[in-house]
Symmetry: C2
Subunit: 143 residues, 2 copies
DNA sequence: ATCAAATCAGATATTTTTATCTGATTAAAG
DNA sequence: CTTTAATCAGATAAAAATATCTGATTTGAT
């Protein structure tokens, strides 16, 4: 089973939250992120590379290189990470796994699942990651 | 990515809903379920076997054998299928994938995700599958 | 008795996800 | 210029999820 998002996506969200919390213009290495968030080093490294390809973060090579947000935290939302890694299809698909999905042929849990799905989407869309900074730092302090 | 539940679990929910909708004491073969719900035959067969092991449905072997609910549809809920196949851990875990989870160290989306998770649980828990019968039939007619 | 149609258990295969390895490149610092 | 610490791309490995196969057993109908 999974909890909505793939590991890649979860780690990606954690990492970008960490970058936002950590940022004062500084570059953060994959190694640091790996240690703080307890994510396998090479794995998070690959995820960071893909987020860079998506334009959410940028990177510098060489000694004292690392990663940083590609734009202000006030302009990045968690949904951006989801879109970049897992894609947004889940917000159009049925929780019961039925293929067809239309208002005229709702699945049996349509009435309750529909609104929940929308709320989940809103949760990822409404707040920019700078707003989540404090809570991220508090959370990380407990890892 | 996944949409909360594994394929096995989605198929299991579909199958048990179909059994509830189809039931007039009749036995339903794995082949019929496979064809109606468009699920690979051998795969749904395995899933049905595991639901039988869990005591949710019962089966008869031999010609004109098949599956039926082990108890009245009014006493089965979708959460039973989730518990039997995927387990209930998702309702205790973090949408961002953080390991530790406690009210004192909430993850950054705690305030919004917590209630949503509870609502999702409620959705699967509040209605018994006989209540979903009509909508299931309508849904299936469109496959 | 034989046949046909079904479940059943266990093995196997395929695909996807998760994770690691290898070696190349880059750039700062000594 | 050499060392060191980092990203990078591509290949590979390991694990989990998804799907199929194989042959045995059961049971109703012919
Ligand atoms: S919950 Fe409603 S909208 Fe979503 S797939 Fe089912 S029928 Fe379609
Ligand atoms: S959402 Fe809240 S309860 Fe759930 S894991 Fe995050 S902190 Fe814990």
């Amino acid at each position: 089973m999974t909890v909505i998002f793939s590991k890649k996506c979860e780690y990606g969200m954690q990492a970008i939250l960490y970058l936002a919390a950590r940022e004062k213009g500084t570059l953060v290495s994959a190694d640091e992120i790996s240690k703080v968030l307890k994510i396998p080093r090479e794995f998070v490294s690959k995820i960071l590379q893909s987020l860079r390809d998506s334009g959410l973060i940028s990177s510098s090579k060489g000694k004292s290189g690392g990663f940083s947000l590609a734009k202000p935290a006030s302009r990045i939302k968690l949904i951006d990470v989801v879109a970049a890694i897992d894609g947004l299809e889940m917000f159009d698909s049925c929780v019961l796994g039925f293929q067809e999905c239309s208002p005229t042929h709702p699945c049996p849990v349509h009435n309750t699942w529909g609104p929940l799905r929308t709320q989940t989407y809103d949760m990822l869309t409404s707040e920019t990651i700078d707003k989540l900074k404090e809570k991220t730092l508090h959370k990380i302090s407990s890892l």
